[in-house]
């Protein structure tokens, strides 16, 4: 997984950090015999996250019940 910026950057240093409006290249294999990738928005990968703070709080409350 790594960032892609458009237009392409001149510096490899800039590719170490991404912004919400940059893209991510996600690579993956299929059944140990093929190679694939997709390009998605950084912001898309952050949508609908559950916050750890909330998950842990709910977990503790359930445990106390």
């Amino acid at each position: 997984m790594n960032f892609r910026k458009q237009p392409a950057t001149l510096s490899s240093r800039e590719l170490a950090t991404g912004y919400l409006d940059d893209s991510l290249i996600l690579s993956f294999g299929w059944g140990d015999n093929s190679s694939h990738f997709v390009q998605v928005g950084v912001e898309d990968m952050l949508q609908g996250h559950e916050m750890c703070e909330d998950l842990i709080f709910e977990y503790l409350m359930r445990d106390e019940d």
Partner: protein, 376 residues
């Protein structure tokens, strides 16, 4: 019950990051579909390697200088399974290949949704990584599966741009002589093992010096068993860290060896175990390096990108499910705090790649093929 408490090094920063993440779109769907921006129908691209097959790829976007070599990305991948008889012993030679990919500008043109779009790589090379001509590796007798005692070479490469602009690669291979381990991780600068990348980066402004010119064996004191899927990440100062385990969260810093910086008790629950409750812990592992994200848009002048409180690390993790004898990987994204102790901040819902069109297209192609067979 042992529990991983949520300790934020900076509560104000944690609140701000939490607010930003909560402000993203919150779909009601139990999963997040992933559509590729590169294809009109959102499908994934398939990489074709010249004269060989390879899987488990890792890609790096190249800076503009790559265009001179017809290269948008560099890809490294594990060459397909091969078996060979050597002196009456069955061995697995095992290689990692590198190549370049060029993405044409018309990738999004509207065409009928047939199969996954294909992209052919070029400048394919088997990299000279740590490899042995031995046919049996006695240090692997401890491996209960017995799968590793005849593997001669490298596998599972992962690439990352360091904050200094170095293309770093981590992979595993046979262990050095002075190690008791069966398999070992190594860290190397890609420029040292795939010269075309050195050539491309020499054309960029102020290329970083090469810190890891040879494969550096990395292991920690007390390490045992077979390890896979270590995830590296770097800080703005160029320090290199290794996220060794998600559960319990365990992080080392590469510093003349490996220095433990984060560890938690073995049975501790954490954000990931809670979110993936019911999945056996050994089946949950990281799948990519952790990358530095600024939680702002690049044109937002009011956002201070130099403020570490505006950053998180983002990485992909997998929960492995067995369906009959096939492995299925549930993909999720995890964010980490940008500074020590790198707490987990959030976890996504399961993500699914857009494949339904491929299924439809496969069916359509099958029907067409049958029709043409029936035609005189």
């Amino acid at each position: 019950m042992v529990f991983h408490s949520f300790i934020s090094p900076n509560p104000a920063s944690a609140d701000r990051i939490s607010d930003i993440l909560k402000a993203t779109s919150r779909p009601n769907s139990p999963i997040i579909p992933i559509y590729s921006q590169l294809d009109y129908w959102g499908r994934f691209h398939t990489i074709e390697f010249q004269d060989l097959k390879a899987f488990n790829p890792s890609l790096l976007t190249l800076p503009y200088a790559g265009e001179r070599m017809n290269a948008t990305f560099v890809v490294v991948a594990r060459e397909e399974y091969k078996w060979q008889w050597i002196d009456g012993i069955y061995v697995q030679p095992r290689h990692v290949v590198a190549s370049l990919l060029h993405l044409s500008s018309d990738a999004q043109r509207r065409i009928a949704p047939k199969l996954s779009p294909r992209i052919r790589s070029h400048s394919v090379e088997r990299m000279h990584l740590i490899h042995s001509n031995a046919t049996y590796f006695p240090k692997c007798e401890q491996d209960r599966d017995g799968q590793t005692s005849n593997i001669q070479g490298p596998e599972d490469p992962r690439l990352i741009w360091s904050h200094l602009g170095e293309p770093l690669m981590i992979y595993n291979s046979v262990s050095p002589e002075d190690s008791d381990l069966c398999r070992h991780f190594y860290l190397v600068d890609l420029r040292s093992v795939y010269p075309v990348i050195r050539e491309i980066l020499s054309d960029t402004s102020d290329p970083a010096p090469i810190r890891f010119p040879q494969s550096l064996p990395i292991a920690y004191r007390g390490q045992d068993g077979i390890h896979k899927n270590w995830a590296i990440f770097t800080t703005r100062g160029g320090d290199v860290f290794v996220h060794v385990h998600l559960i319990p969260q365990t992080i080392y810093k590469i510093n003349n060896g490996m220095e433990k910086v984060i560890s938690h008790p073995r049975n501790e629950e954490n954000c990931i175990t809670i979110a993936l409750k019911g999945t056996p812990k050994p089946r949950i592992h990281q799948s990519t390096p952790f990358l530095d994200v600024v939680l702002c848009r690049s044109d937002d002048d009011s956002c201070d990108a130099d403020d570490p409180n505006n950053h998180v690390y983002i990485g992909v993790i997998h929960a492995q499910h067995m369906i009959s004898d096939a492995r299925y990987y549930e993909t999720r994204v995890v964010t980490l705090n940008y500074s020590l102790p790198f707490n987990y901040i959030s976890i996504s819902k399961p993500m699914l790649y857009c494949t339904s069109l491929s299924s439809i297209a496969n069916k359509w192609a099958f029907q067409r093929q049958n029709a043409s067979i029936r035609s005189p």
